[in-house]
Amino acid sequence: MSQRTPVNKTRHTAKDERCFDIVIYSVAAVIMLIVLYPLLFVVSASFSDPAKVLGGEVWLLPKGVTLDAYINILQNDKIWTGYGNSILYTAVGTTINILMTLLAAYPLSRPDLPLRKGLMLIVTLTMFFSGGLIPTYLLVKDLGMVDTMWALIIPGAVSTYNLIVMRTYFQSSIPWELQEAAHIDGCSNWRLLISIILPLSKPILAVMVLFYAVGHWNSFFNALIYIRREEMYPLQLVLREILLISQSDAVDGSVGLEDKVLLAESIKYAVIIVSSLPVLIMYPFVQRHFVKGVMIGSIKG
């Protein structure tokens, strides 16, 4: 938005614009405050004495400042193994996701694809009906994927929701005339996809990478079902295990359960921060691709 040169430079509109800006900026400020407060709470809680957090004494600034939670996390080998695993699963998984979704979404976005409706129906129906846990488990088992990384990646290779979103983007944001023109120039569909569609799809690809990656990063259920070896656990499962000290552990009065519970209580805030960091860092890089003006120049007239 660098070259903003208002043509109708009457005073009236300029004033309007300024009012509008003020409103926009203040609404945004209010939203940020509302969102920030609980986030600050999480940060404060992660540095506070857990008993004070539970007792409701912390509500903005840390009370009884301590770094125990972070030290505890740093010393935990399982967390680091989990971190490594999660990064691997996320990287491999997201790559496969993007490829598969692209291969499905593009053809299905083409209005000239025969049988498109039927194929879309096949895809959409899967959002509503699934065979359930047992047959899926048997399938994964028969494919020999139990206790391997692939059990976490292949069964979820395409998210129908994301596929539909991507297809909608192709349909609505990439002019059909452009594709037709390319066709007339003798461009094959593969070439079309790679050299015309992809460069025009950066924003949606960025979103898809973000959605899939975060999905992998946060997922635990498949690992819970399919992964047995502890050294293969993703981060989320490790964290759940640490946080999940339940009443059943109190049977026979396990030693110092209170310490354990309080520890779990205290590290849960630090854990949120530590485990969200990679994704938080990733976002600004992804967001770069949301820049405007990708279409300039691609459109003929």
């Binding site: 008993a51 539970l54 007792g55 846990l133 047992i134 488990y137 048997l138 088992k141 819970l224 079902i225 047995r228 502890e230 499962l237 759940r240 295990e241 640490i242 999940l244 000290i245 339940s246 009443q247 059943s248 552990d249 109190a250 049977v251 026979d252 009065g253 396990s254 030693v255 110092g256 359960l257 209170e258 310490d259 354990k260 519970v261 309080l262 779990a264 209580e265």
Partner: protein
């Protein structure tokens, strides 16, 4: 003291012999070498160790709690492997997701040899047993499990609780003969009582007065009204803890009274109404923790440790050790009709479905013998305490953890008891840690008021079990929601009759009949 000596030497003897035999068993032929080569030649000895001459392997599927470390690093399993010649490979599934993984093993027929610490519900045991995936154990127990047999003779309720109507046993429970490990003590703040010059309450009315004093007279002396007169675990824990004072028992692990061989589900009774009205009074006047229906386990434990609580309930004093001398146990208060009962108490077979053998298992006899050892004091000592000298020391014949194994970090790493549900015997002999003098004293206050016999949830046949399950889904949910509302005052007692008639509509009578039938069958 004789016993101690015996136990001690027996253990060392067995460990030593285990070591020797484990070390050089490969070449030496056993006594029963007459049978042909192969698995059959490896006969299972009926007593003594090793269990088998040639090492065998068993795959056990087990639950591992967040506090535990890997089972293969625990002294009990290392030593016992040498002793028994049975090599166990544990497939460890964490508590989180254990239920799903366990069900999937059965659903996909990928069975291990044994399920260890598996917490099978009676319904699951019957279902998988009737389907042939679990094998019946009653004959094996008779022939190969002397310790279990002895316990089952001593406590008939064990057999009753685990035998199906057809006479089969599909899973073995964790057995708790120590009374103190089966009750939640009633802890009262003695320091506050002394400061306010009050007596330990003997009746529910006195309890009320004491709680009022706790609330109003600033017993912790900080000038603030931050005392919580009484609290409990989230939900209706408070009801189980108080029901004995109103003549309401907890038989069959349910809201059931058994009087003169008659089973009565008391949820709609007048006595229950009285109790709820009493609790409602406490709640209304802020004598009962206002957060009792919403706080978390962590918050509850934090309250125990904070010293700001007057009365609360827990099995041990472990969670408030630093301030434990402020508290003491009290007896159940007598109710308006003079009832005085500790109705909350787990049965002797406390942890159901802890050990089961599948149809895949090629060594069922050895598997039974393997587990039977842990139903003796020696075996249980090995399981809970590890090696003498290294992990524990004997004082007056009773094992005590060494200092370094008394922390929440170290102890659960050496024993699978921590985290609950392990199949073994918990007797007085092995409970120095969970039953220190203060807890013993608190239990002594309860002892005179304990029920004579405590029936565990009965075994129904598969069809009846399903029927009970369906009936209870609606009834229990309704009962819990309405009771909570009565106590919290969100529902007025004018609606009591509606409550009763809805319970009827949900076929509570039919449910009662099913329990009555189970009871009658058991008595026969």
């Amino acid at each position: 003291m004789k016993r101690k000596q015996w136990g001690r030497s027996a253990i060392s003897l067995m460990i030593i012999s285990g070591l020797i035999l484990g070390g050089c068993s490969s070449g030496t032929g056993g006594k029963k070498d007459t049978a042909p080569e192969g698995a059959a030649s490896n006969a299972v000895s009926k007593e003594g160790f090793p269990i088998v001459q040639e090492p065998i392997k068993l795959k056990m599927f087990t639950r591992i709690a967040p506090v535990n470390g890997p089972f293969k690093d625990m002294p009990v399993f290392q030593d016992y492997e040498k002793m028994s010649n049975v090599q166990v490979e544990f497939i460890e599934a964490p508590t989180d997701g254990f239920q799903e993984k366990k069900n999937l093993l059965f659903a996909s027929n990928e069975l291990p040899d044994v399920l260890y610490r598996s917490g099978l519900t009676p319904l699951e045991a019957v279902r998988y047993g009737a389907g042939g995936q679990l094998i019946p154990l009653e004959d094996l127990i008779r022939d190969y499990a002397p310790n279990l047999t002895r316990l089952m003779e001593e406590y008939p309720e064990i057999r009753a609780a685990i035998t199906t109507p057809e006479g089969h046993i599909y899973a073995i429970p964790g057995i708790v003969t120590l009374g103190s490990a089966r009750t939640d003590k009633k802890w009262i703040n003695r320091a506050w009582l002394e400061k306010l010059k009050l007596q330990v309450p003997e009746t529910t009315d006195e309890l009320y007065d004491v709680l009022v004093a706790f609330r109003d007279q600033d017993p912790n002396g900080n000038g603030q009204k931050d005392e919580i007169p009484m609290t409990a675990r989230v939900g209706l824990h408070i009801v189980t803890m108080m029901s004995g004072s109103f003549g309401l028992d907890q038989q069959f692990g349910y809201n059931i009274n058994i009087v003169d061989d008659k089973v009565e589900i008391w949820m709609g009774s007048e006595r229950n109404k009285e109790m709820l009205m009493y609790l409602n009074k406490l709640y209304k006047e802020k004598l009962l923790d206002p957060e009792v229906f919403s706080h978390t386990e962590a918050q509850y434990l934090a309250k125990q440790g904070s010293g700001k609580t007057g009365v609360f309930f827990d099995q041990t004093n472990n969670n408030f050790l630093p301030i434990a001398d402020q508290y003491e146990g009290m007896a159940p208060p007598a109710g308006p009709h003079g009832d005085r009962m500790q109705s909350q108490a787990s049965p002797v077979p406390r942890d159901p479905g802890a050990y089961a053998i599948t149809s895949e298992n090629k060594h069922p006899e050895a598997s039974i013998r393997w587990i039977d050892y842990f139903y003796s004091d020696e075996g249980s000592t090995l399981l809970r305490f590890g090696r003498e000298g290294e992990h524990y020391e004997l004082k007056d014949g009773i094992p005590y953890y060494k200092e370094e194994y008394s922390t929440s970090e170290t102890q659960p790493k050496i024993t699978p008891y921590a985290g609950g549900g392990a199949p073994h015997l918990i007797s007085e002999q092995v409970s120095s840690y969970i039953n220190p003098p203060q807890v013993q004293d608190a239990q002594k206050k309860l002892d005179p008021f304990m029920p004579e016999i405590r029936y565990a949830a009965p075994m129904f046949d598969e069809k009846t079990a399903q029927e009970v399950n369906i009936l209870r889904n609606d009834i229990d949910k309704y009962y819990e929601e309405q009771s909570t509302k009565f106590i919290a005052g969100a529902l007025s007692f004018d609606k009591w009759e509606e409550f009763q008639s809805t319970l009827k509509k949900m076929k509570m009578d039919q449910l009662q009949q099913l329990y009555q039938d189970a009871y009658d069958k058991m008595k026969k």
